[in-house]
């Protein structure tokens, strides 16, 4: 019974803390109303022993004497109405609105505060502290502490219950597992890229191999649905085959045809960039985005950029479907996933909204009038465009004039790839191969095209 006295004595007298009834209630697991009485009792007994030993604040609830607060704004507002508008006459039925005042007051002001009340329906001790509370806003900190003390955060036995409360059902083993599965599925994304480099950088191949395989294996046990993850693991190498092949072909041709067909190069670049994105489960992550209905129209081409192989594609679709189902269960994973996606390996920093990582590398120089490549590899140039100019003439009409203008551009402001590049992608795979075009395509694409991957590449080592 006297546990509370000990608790209060320790906290208030020894540690000089302010204790509110909420904090006491949560710390000792008693009902708040009991806690209020405990505080009162403690306050009384201490001050009986030694006046001024502890100081309380009170919470007063009731109706104040009319005249000051309750009616002034009310009448002002109502009085105006009838004067200004001569709409169908309105009798406002009520002129006074009962106003309940909830006041948190220090004990030294309690008397004054009470005298303003016409009727007090409830009063209790709110907090007890070792000193007279000067700044009541300090109580906010105590309140925060009380929140933290709350039994497992959300359950609050003290509050008025509500039997009809409905929470969202979370099917399956819960959010955590799904999240793990998702990140696991995502894990191979950088891995695939590394493997892709393999044939090219033959010297380092063995090293990479070990890292990738170990990576995949690492993720495997963590993944929740074993079929899903195994599919990921298996589909990743499968998926790799076509681009790797292509690379092999082009790599063998050496650097002779470097100046060869820029278009092919860019296309190949596109293919490369999009290809690895697919086995990483990007499309499945994008799908739930459309739940939000915002801004993901540019993303849509992505799933269309399917690889040539139909079996892997089937695999992928099945897996994507599965992922999508998981995704739709909770959008928390969506967020996490997006972070994962935007930087597969770098530590997660505070940019929660970076959604389109694949967009930037995918941007490709378009046909332009004059293009020059500056020393740092950036493309700059000028192109002719038709500008619309709107001016207001002297009569107040808007006139639109079209005029030609030169516009300079650099790589930064190139538009996203057109959605129709599905054919291009598949076409380019064959064309690159048949013409055995240019290691340049690959070399240019490697560092420039997939910035994410190069970063992950280095962090791996």
């Amino acid at each position: 019974m006297d546990v509370y006295k000990k608790f209060l004595a320790e906290n208030i007298l020894t540690e000089e803390k302010v204790i509110t009834y909420r904090l006491l209630s949560r710390a000792l697991h008693v009902h708040p109303n009991t806690a209020k009485q405990m505080l009162y009792d403690f306050h009384k007994s201490q001050n009986d022993k030694r006046p001024g030993a502890v100081h309380a604040t009170y919470l007063v609830y009731g109706i104040k004497a009319s005249g000051d607060l309750s009616s002034a704004p009310q009448n002002g507002a109502d009085g105006d109405v009838e004067m200004t508008s001569s709409m169908p006459e309105v009798d406002s039925l009520d002129n006074t609105v009962p106003t309940f005042i909830l006041t948190l007051i220090q004990e030294q002001h309690l008397k004054d505060a009470l005298s303003e009340y016409e009727e007090v329906s409830s009063i209790h001790v709110y907090s007890v502290g070792p000193h007279p509370a000067k700044d009541l806003s300090l109580l906010a900190d105590v309140a925060n502490e009380a929140l933290r003390l709350g039994p497992d955060g959300s359950k609050n036995p003290a509050a008025i219950g509500n039997s009809r409360v409905r929470r969202r059902e979370r099917p399956g083993a819960g959010a955590k597992n799904v999240a793990v599965a998702v990140t696991a599925a995502r894990g191979p994304a950088p891995a695939t890229k590394v493997v892709q480099e393999e044939p090219k950088a033959a010297a380092a191949a063995s090293l990479f191999k070990t890292t990738t395989t170990s990576k995949v294996k690492e993720e495997e046990p963590a993944a929740k649905p074993p079929p899903g993850s195994s599919k990921v693991a298996s589909s990743a190498p499968e998926k790799k085959a076509p681009p790797a092949l292509k690379r092999g072909g082009s790599g063998s041709s050496g650097g002779i045809m470097q100046a060869f067909s820029k278009a092919a190069a860019t296309k190949a670049k596109k293919a490369e960039i999009w290809q690895p994105a697919i086995p990483s489960g990007d499309d499945s992550s994008i799908q739930p985005m459309s739940d939000d209905g915002e801004d993901d129209s540019e993303m849509i081409p992505q799933p269309k950029a399917a690889g040539p192989s139909s079996t892997t594609r089937k695999n992928r679709e099945a897996r994507a479907e599965e992922l999508r189902r998981m995704m739709e269960e909770d959008d928390e994973e969506e967020d996490e996933e997006e972070k994962e996606e935007s930087r597969p390996d770098s530590p997660v920093d505070e940019e929660p909204m970076e959604v389109e990582p694949a967009e930037e590398p995918a941007a490709v120089p378009e046909k332009a009038e004059k293009v020059e490549v500056t020393g740092d590899g950036r493309r700059r140039g000028k192109r002719k465009v038709v500008r619309k100019k709107q001016i207001m003439d002297d009569q107040g009409y808007l006139v639109t004039i079209q005029e030609d203008a030169w516009e300079s551009f650099s790589e930064d402001d190139k538009p996203a790839p057109p959605p129709s590049f599905k054919q291009k992608t598949t076409g380019s795979a064959s064309s690159t191969q048949s013409t055995a075009a240019s290691s340049k395509s690959k070399k240019a694409a490697g560092p420039k095209g997939s910035q994410g991957s190069i970063r992950s590449f280095f962090s791996k080592n």
């Binding site: 009902h31 708040p32 209020k36 009485q37 604040t57 919470l59 609830y61 009731g62 109706i63 704004p73 009310q74 507002a77 109502d78 105006d80 109405v81 200004t84 508008s85 001569s86 709409m87 009520d94 106003t99 005042i101 909830l102 006041t103 948190l104 220090q106 002001h109 505060a113 009470l114 005298s115 303003e116 009727e119 007090v120 329906s121 409830s122 009063i123 209790h124 001790v125 009541l136 109580l139 906010a140 929140l147 359950k155 609050n156 509050a159 008025i160 219950g161 509500n162 009809r164 409360v165 409905r166 929470r167 979370r170 959008d331 969506e334 505070e350 940019e351 909204m353 001016i391 207001m392």
Partner: protein, 514 residues
């Protein structure tokens, strides 16, 4: 006057007793949201806005003409009989007639899109002007329909609230200057009002049980303040802030009050347990003035101003939304919440604002419905404006932008009068899309009030106000201007049976009298 002696040893001011306090059960909220203002997910913004005006005129014109023909049919002024004219263009000089159309008010300070375009001014934030009207009286009131427009003059106009976009019928004559001398003016007045419990069923068994319970429990001294009926609480402008902590204590007290932890058992049982629902009418998150400006210019595509192009994550302060989330997650186990977005909230800026996305509430999200679920959630993030049926009453509520914008047109402080005018115009956002940003609707004009609400509340207002207005067919509408909690520390309680309004003001000691 209450003195210390009166309250000594009352209620909780005594030693703890052994009998455990019994658990209270909150009254249930009977609730059915309507999705009148939900926009399609794949919104297009290519359309013109003209359709909104056309649709509004088409929808409201018959009602206005009915009112007008009852009032003016057979009116003879100066030996001339008033005739109805179908279109604005058909008005003939010198003939006494009446015609219906949309009001357009040209105001000196009103933002003008043509001016913006011609000066190559592209801003992303709506300009913040206190008012659009000019004191010198240069404002021109026009009446227009799809045929043409005519300028309205006359002292009669001063007797009415007029804003761009409301539909009126005017009677008068065109003078030699081509201006229409208005003699009288009519609105559509309140639309037909649905019966109570039109969409949901009254919970009869629950009601009786609650009564039994009331009777059982220690009703020795019946408190005068106890009003048995259920209540809904409306609050707006909570403005959880990352920097301003001046009203954190009040927010905590509000939470304790709503949860039913504060006060003594009597008050808890008689009052707090009867608050069945909390409606948050906008502005739950405080404006971070500086960062807002930064983000706007950043998004506006002026890379020259900032080094970082696009969104700058370092300017993001997650604390306000975290605080809101904590507040909600504490409250939700005890009470269902309807959450309207407001001007400051993370929702789209244009009317109708769409629900705040559940991703904003990592903790409270468990109470939101699953995506695609038919049933509304325990935490119901809704649109602004929002329409629904709460305890049988049809409720229309907004986050306040519609009223704030109307306020800028009118040289008056009578916000309740403007709310009334909106009801009588049958349009909850008449100034959209002219000065209130709005989605370019093509098929429907949702701001037209098809049915008269029983209760119409507008959030984020400078001060509390309420009144009841009546319509010609016996409609009764309870208007409530909900004050911003951050400014006034007030919340509004509405009785679910009588729609009587009371308010609760939360003060902390030194702030009030000393």
């Amino acid at each position: 006057m209450v003195t210390l002696d009166d309250i000594a040893n009352a209620g909780l001011l005594q030693k703890p007793s052994d009998n455990a306090p019994e658990a209270l059960e909150r009254s249930q909220s009977n609730y059915k949201p309507l999705h009148s203002f939900a926009l399609p997910k794949d919104r297009q913004y290519q359309q013109q806005f003209a359709d909104i005006y056309f649709l509004r005129l088409t929808k409201i014109k018959p009602a206005v003409e009915k009112v007008a023909s009852i009032a003016w049919e057979g009116t003879v002024i100066g030996g001339e009989r008033a005739k109805k004219v179908e279109r604005v263009l058909d008005v003939r000089q010198g003939e006494l007639c009446w015609v219906t159309g949309t009001v357009y008010i040209d105001m000196a300070l009103k933002p003008n899109i043509l001016e913006d375009v011609s000066k190559d001014r592209w801003i992303s934030a709506p300009p913040s002007i206190d008012h659009y009207f000019s004191e010198e009286g240069h404002d021109a009131v026009m009446l227009e329909d799809d045929s043409g427009r005519i300028r309205l003059i006359g002292d009669t106009l001063k007797d009415f609230f007029m804003v761009t976009g409301c539909i009126v019928a005017v009677m008068g004559t065109e003078n030699a200057n081509g201006e229409f001398q208005v003699l009288d003016l009519k609105f559509a007045d309140l639309p037909p009002q649905p019966e109570r419990w039109e969409l949901s069923k009254p919970p009869k068994p629950v009601k009786s049980k609650a009564k039994v319970k009331d009777g059982d429990v220690e009703m020795t001294d019946s408190p005068a303040t106890a009003q048995g009926g259920k209540k809904m609480a409306i609050v707006s402008g909570l403005e959880f802030s990352g920097t301003d902590t001046s009203y954190t204590v009040e927010l905590n007290l509000l939470l304790e009050y709503l949860l039913g932890e504060a006060l003594d058992p009597m008050a808890q049982q008689n009052e707090l347990a009867h608050i069945s629902r909390l409606i948050i009418a906008g502005n739950s998150i405080a404006a971070e003035q500086k960062t807002h400006v930064e983000m706007d210019t950043g998004k506006g595509g002026k890379p020259g101003v900032h080094k970082k192009y696009g969104y700058d994550s370092s300017s993001y302060n997650p604390i306000p939304s975290q605080l809101l989330d904590e507040f909600l997650s504490e409250l939700l186990p005890s009470m269902p919440v309807t959450l309207l977005p407001g001007a400051l909230d993370p929702a789209n800026a244009s009317y109708p604002q769409q629900p705040i996305h559940a991703a904003m509430f990592p903790k409270s999200r468990a109470y939101t419905p699953l995506p695609g679920a038919a049933e509304h959630g325990w935490l119901d993030a809704v649109t602004n404006p929002w329409e629904g049926e709460v305890d049988g009453w049809r409720v229309l509520g907004t986050g306040g932008q519609n009223l704030d914008d109307v306020f800028k047109y009118v040289n008056s402080d009578d916000r309740l009068g403007m709310m009334e005018a909106m009801c009588r115009w049958r349009c909850s956002a008449p100034t959209a899309p002219d000065t209130l940003w709005a989605y370019p609707f093509q098929e429907d004009e949702p701001f037209v009030m098809k049915e008269c609400p029983h209760m119409y509340f507008v959030g984020c207002q400078p001060e509390f106000g309420t009144k009841i207005i009546q319509g010609p067919d016996g409609q009764m509408v309870r208007l409530i201007a909900v004050p911003s909690f951050a400014d006034t520390r007030e919340i509004v309680l509405v009785d679910s049976e009588t729609l009587d309004v009371s308010r609760v003001k939360i003060t902390t000691g030194t702030g009030t009298s000393e």
